[in-house]
């Protein structure tokens, strides 16, 4: 298999303790059927799919239970057989927060009956048909951001796609689901990658993996040799966070910086996670829509850290129980990695397609609430910043609510990777202040737009009233001119009165 050498070093970034060995000691646990599944109708970034089942109705594995009504969404399927017992709003952990979504609650029957016999799906004739298939298969980006795969692939259909990057970097601490999937299903991933490459007609395909995953690299290389796929190569990346970010990957592999405010797809690069490629393989070769994903369950607070294939909708409490349950005191439950993941208040939330990792964290693993010292301008944050920002200046602008300065310092190029917080000796909550600042700028922009709109409407109204006043004046003058002298006017009025009497008389007679 061809080796591709990265062209450039990562901008900023930092080596972090990986904390991945605990969860990679055992093979992936196979899926189990929990008594109840809570399947959100929104499993992706974009508008929710619309439920197409009713309460009381039986559901079969692979059956569509919610249908997307836009290209920016994806269908949702029943992960196993059972009965729909409720369709209700519930909290679900999605891409970057816990949100409330309409969920289909299925009571499982344990029989796991499928809606139809598994059979390969013939790819559609046109790009549009193929994208439709991917959307109907419920395939979304499984790296954690759950951008609908079809929407992303379509982005690149307008431009010539230079490169398809299959992202197996998995740079964030704790997460190891992609690593384990590559070790165990390398051939399937490469097959899915090739289907994707042909779909977008990319010139090349590169599988990018961080160097701290030697077994995954070996497995992918061996599979590549065995399958003999053309235009496919593997790139080993240094294990530096955040090498797995899309912009960072494109930059390191091709020396192209994706312009600020645009997507990699806009400039001809498509990134898809290895698990997404695997899902594509499962659908086109076996006819299985996306109903389960591999979740890393790890952290010092869980008895047996491991990777587990979970049905979408499995309550996280069941998932943790399947990994031996809690151990010691758990202070925080995180979905995602320890850098960009978000804390969940409760373990009764269900797994979504975004649930790549659940960290059951003990006290020493997480940041303590501590005193913040004043910024000493050590500049470490700006050195590790992958966007080359100046967080030490940004935080001052954020505290002063100085919108102009925030924009000048390119606040919106912050990818919220969290590195500045980790290196800050003053322990300032930088990333959170930048999130708040973005919100501030957005609301201030909205306010300014509203002010301009109101101002404009006021001016138009004033102009209209002025014009109306001028027109009235002109009309008065015109009539005066028409009537001529004072006597003429008196005469005209008399005539008009006479006409009126006459007419009145007529009606009286009539």
């Amino acid at each position: 298999m061809l080796k591709f050498t990265p062209r450039r070093r990562l901008t900023g970034g930092m080596r972090l303790p990986a904390n991945k060995t605990e969860s990679t000691a055992r093979p992936i646990h196979k899926a189990f059927i929990p008594p109840r599944l809570i399947v959100s109708t929104r499993q992706h970034r974009g508008p929710a799919a619309v439920p197409v089942v009713e309460v009381g109705q039986p559901a079969l594995r692979g059956e569509t239970i919610a249908r997307a009504n836009s290209i920016d969404a994806a269908d949702v399927h029943a992960p196993t057989s059972g009965t729909v017992v409720a369709i209700e709003a519930r909290e679900v952990p999605l891409a970057s927060a816990v949100v409330v979504e309409q969920c289909v609650v299925i009571e499982t029957d344990g029989a796991d009956r499928a809606v139809r016999e598994p059979a390969p799906v013939e790819p559609g004739a046109t790009l549009e048909a193929k994208l439709e298939q991917i959307r109907a298969a419920g395939i979304v980006g499984l790296g954690g951001a759950v951008f609908p795969a079809a929407a992303k692939l379509r982005l690149a259909s307008g431009v010539a796609c230079e490169l398809l990057i299959i992202n197996g970097a998995e740079c964030e601490p704790y997460i190891s689901c992609d690593d384990m999937l590559m070790r165990e299903s390398a051939k399937e991933i490469l097959d899915g990658a090739e289907i994707l490459r042909q779909l977008v007609d990319a010139k090349e395909c590169i599988v990018a993996i961080e160097r701290d995953k030697p077994q995954a690299i070996d497995a992918i290389t061996a599979a590549g040799e065995a399958l003999g796929i053309e235009r496919l190569s593997i790139a080993e990346l240094p294990s530096i966070y955040p090498a797995g970010g899309e912009r960072q990957l494109v930059d390191v592999l091709t020396e192209v910086e994706v312009p600020s405010g645009r997507f990699p797809g806009d400039v001809g690069f498509i990134c898809q996670n290895v698990a997404t490629a695997y899902a594509v393989h499962r659908y086109f070769r076996h006819g299985e829509p996306l109903t389960r994903r591999i979740v890393t369950v790890t952290g010092a607070g869980v008895a047996e850290p491991c990777n587990i294939e979970a049905m979408i909708g499995t309550p996280i409490a069941d998932l943790i129980a399947a990994c031996g349950g809690y151990r010691g005191e758990t202070v925080r439950l995180i979905q995602g990695g320890s850098m960009m993941g978000f804390a969940m208040g409760s373990d009764d939330l269900p797994v979504t397609k975004a649930s790549n990792c659940i960290i059951v964290a003990s006290a020493p693993e997480v940041r303590r609430d501590s005193h913040e010292w004043p910024c000493i301008r050590c500049g470490e944050c700006s050195i590790v910043c992958p966007a080359r920002l100046q967080p030490q200046d940004l935080v001052l602008a954020a505290r002063a609510s100085n919108v102009a300065m925030l924009n000048e310092l390119d606040l919106f190029d912050c990818i919220e990777c969290g590195l500045c917080d980790v290196v800050c000796p003053s322990q300032i909550l930088l990333t959170q202040s930048f999130r708040d600042a973005k919100e501030l700028v957005r609301s201030s922009d909205a306010r300014e737009a509203f002010s301009q709109q109101s101002d404009e409407r006021y001016r138009l109204r004033e102009q209209r009233r002025h014009e109306a006043a001028v027109a009235d004046e002109q009309r008065r003058d015109e009539i005066k001119r028409m009537l001529g002298s004072e006597e003429d006017r008196v005469e005209a009025i008399r005539a008009a009165v006479a006409r009126g009497r006459e007419r009145k008389g007529e009606t009286d007679v009539g």
């Binding site: 409490a317 758990t330 850098m339 960290i359 966007a387 100046q390």
Partner: protein, 349 residues
């Protein structure tokens, strides 16, 4: 299978604990100064310790008083240790044999004028220790230039016991058989400045027994230990290489060039490097993050300019050493440097 639901605290990302803390950094800077301080005490007597203790007490008291006046919480700000670091650097910058009110006045003016009046830690434009030093030098020129020779066999060094040192610092009395003049000598930098001015060649000046291989005897050893401390700070990730290297380059390159052209009329690069506050400045003073440039390119410019200004003041200026003034001048330029060395943001132009 379903367990009882558990509830957890909700905090925002990142969850990974931070790697550094300000008090730890300050403490490590102090550790890094210990070897050089021990060496200094060996060669120049116990005065450094007294000066440091007096200066630290004055700095901490001044800081507490100012925080009180400003209505800010006292404990966290005192606990960060920055006032003690300022005191240590200030003590290193003054002669060992001074009355107690010199370090006390230095500590108070450094903390009050240069730090708290600007808003405390992180807000000061100028390096507090250097402001304190400059004020002392201008206010007490006699006391601040009364240096002692190193403890070397062939030099008429007079050793004072710690108690005698204490007595001098607090009462101004020396043991009866000793006079101040007998104990103090010019520094190598003074000798070079005066010598070159009066027409001696650099080689002639160096013949004085106060000179060693590069700089002054004794001073060289302190310099070695300062380098050691600097290397520790570098390896511990407390400072980065840009400012020290740039500053030393800014000092060594011009002095090396002029020395190559006119070895008689100019002091050599080795002398510049190992004399006065060059090494202390490079590793401990110019690297003070608060008053230094924050961007990488900015740090190179900042460091280099300090080095060059130090060289220029030593060579053509009125003072024998110029590190403090060079640092203060460049402190003033930092906002400008940072503004114009901001790197291109990812994905822009």
């Amino acid at each position: 299978m379903s367990a009882e639901t558990a509830r957890f605290g909700v905090k925002t990302a990142p969850h990974s604990p931070p790697k550094h803390a300000v008090p730890v950094i300050m403490r490590r800077v102090l550790y890094a100064l210990v070897p050089a301080a021990a060496c200094y005490v060996w060669f120049f007597g116990f005065g450094l310790v007294i000066n440091f203790l007096v200066c630290a007490a004055a700095s901490v008291l001044a800081e507490a008083a100012m925080l009180r006046i400003r209505g800010r919480p006292i404990q966290p700000a005192l606990g960060d240790g920055s006032a003690v670091v300022t005191a240590a650097l200030l003590a290193f910058s003054m002669p060992p044999l001074v009355p107690w009110w010199v370090p006390a006045a230095g500590g108070v003016s450094a903390i009050v004028l240069a730090k708290q009046l600007y808003g405390g830690l992180g807000k000061n434009l100028f390096n507090p220790a250097m402001v304190g030093y400059a004020i002392l030098l201008l206010s007490f020129p006699v006391e601040m230039t009364r240096w002692v020779p190193p403890r070397m066999g062939d030099i008429d060094y007079v050793h004072l016991e710690p108690l005698a040192h204490l007595a001098y610092a607090f009462t101004g009395t020396l043991p009866p058989e000793l006079g101040l003049d007998a104990m103090t000598r010019a520094t190598p930098l003074d000798l070079v400045k005066e010598g070159l001015r009066s027409g001696q060649t650099f080689t002639e000046i160096r013949a004085n027994s106060l000179f060693g291989d590069f700089g002054g005897r004794g001073w060289e050893w302190v310099g070695n230990f300062l380098i050691l401390g600097g290397l520790y700070l570098l390896s511990a990730g407390i400072i980065r290489w840009h400012i020290p290297i740039a500053m030393l380059a800014g000092l060594v390159i011009p002095s090396g060039l002029l020395f190559a052209f006119d070895p008689a009329g100019y002091a050599g690069p080795g002398f510049h490097l190992f004399s006065g506050a060059a090494l202390l400045g490079a590793f401990f003073i110019a690297t003070d993050p608060v008053s230094a440039a924050a961007t990488i390119r900015g740090r190179l410019i900042y460091g280099c300019s300090i080095g060059f200004l130090t060289f220029a003041i030593r060579t053509w200026g009125g003072y024998p050493d110029g590190v403090a003034f060079a640092v203060l001048i460049m402190n003033a330029a930092v906002p400008l440097i940072d503004r114009y060395t901001r790197p291109r943001v990812f994905g822009h132009g």
